[in-house]
């Protein structure tokens, strides 16, 4: 089976990978690039654990092929913090204890950051609808929603 050479940008870094034609972007990130921050939950686009940004748009990396990422800018959970400085969404997840087992957390953080980037002041309903594609079986969601609200509030103070 021939592999396809894919050139892309991941978290601002130029990368190359060899993908099987039907290999998901999720598997390519994890298995070809060794970036295991992005998690597999369902592999059917229902749980959002594998959320990444593709050219700035929130997607499930399990529902994209690695080969489809040719020429794209992909942002993963590994690209959210600035060096050792956590993004405000990450900090608020810690402060609000918005995680338990942690499998869903990378997806929630990527999704929440994408929301705040385009809507710095979302109301609770907007947050809940935006995150409807991210499933968590531990927290019951309230702490997650509060963490995102706290992050928005802090961003508003900084602005």
């Amino acid at each position: 089976m021939s592999r396809v050479h894919v050139t892309l940008s991941v978290n601002g870094e130029p990368r190359e990978m060899l993908c099987e034609a039907h290999q998901s972007l999720l598997d390519a990130l994890r298995d070809e690039l060794g970036m295991t921050g992005t998690k597999e939950g369902c592999a059917t686009g229902d749980c959002g654990a594998c959320s990444v940004l593709a050219d700035g748009r929130l997607v499930c990396s399990c529902l994209m092929l690695g080969v489809e990422a040719e020429g794209m800018d992909i942002t993963t959970i590994e690209g959210i913090a600035q060096g050792s400085e956590l993004h405000v969404v990450q900090r608020k997840f810690l402060e609000a204890a918005a995680l338990q087992c942690g499998i869903c957390t990378p997806g929630f953080i990527v999704a929440a950051k994408a929301l705040l980037d385009q809507n710095p002041n979302p109301d609770e309903t907007t947050i809940r609808y935006w995150l409807a594609g991210n499933l968590c079986r531990c927290t019951g969601y309230d702490k997650i929603v509060r963490a995102v609200q706290d992050a928005a509030q802090e961003l508003a103070y900084e602005a």
């Binding site: 089976m1 021939s2 396809v4 099987e20 034609a21 039907h22 998901s24 592999a43 059917t44 686009g45 229902d46 959002g48 959320s51 593709a54 748009r57 929130l58 997607v59 499930c60 399990c62 529902l63 994209m64 092929l65 080969v67 489809e68 040719e70 999704a111 994408a114 929301l115 609808y129 935006w130 995150l131 409807a132 594609g133 991210n134």
Partner: protein
Amino acid sequence: MEGYAYARPTSVAEAIGVLQADAASGRRSQLLAGGTDVLVQMRSNDREPRTLVDVKHIAETNRVDIGDEEVFIGAAVPSAVLNENAQLKALFPGLLESADLIGSTQIQGRASIGGNLCNASPAGDTIPAIIADGGICVIAGPGGSREVPCEEFVTGVGHNALGAAEFLLGLKFKTPASGSGDAYLRFIPRTEMDIAVAGAGVALTLDGGGACTAARVSIGAVAPTALLVPEAAAALIGTQVDAAALAAAGAACSAAASPIADKRGTVAYRRKVVGVLCRRASAIARDRALNNIGGSQ
């Protein structure tokens, strides 16, 4: 057995060439737009290797053109992109709502209405909305392009009218006249992220006095394919879309439905609900049309 392959044509001719080469060699092709149905199916019930023909990098499938006469929506334009288009949203709020109902934010970023149509699920939410809006499928193939009304495009559960080496370029609509409105409603037991138990799409046009001069009604998830219901449209045309007309249109939809019973609803329930959805969607479309009378949209 040969493995999977990936092709990324950048022109209609190149795409048809790939499809023809596969057909000639007896190899299976799989059209790929957003992939939100295809990739899931490929990993579950249908694992046969094939050439994945990515149609997202062709100008025509990515185009959204809004003209005075005609609107064209490329088959591969993601739902999120459509819903960010304020002009399109003003012209076809019902169609865009139907697209916006499908899946999560993540799904919206990839899934297209062309893909929803080609996937041909009985419960595909955009299909009744497209049919109500009079959508015409523009299909590219070896002999040039051809057009098929949307209500004839889906031929059965999971089956569509695409022939060998053909693919869907996009959907064409007449630009709605002033006094037009559309709406799509579905019923699901949850508030988000679910598959329609029943759905109804309505598009109608009112004259200056509020009388309905044209209407199209389509119902989904209550038959193997979404259905155009001319009897429901006839119940609205010539009326003020008042309570009596709404009731008659709803009854026509209930009569036209031939649903299955499954865990999401019984036959009797679906029949009833599709009538209710038709009434409500017709009222929304009427109110939208009233707001558009006399003004350009």
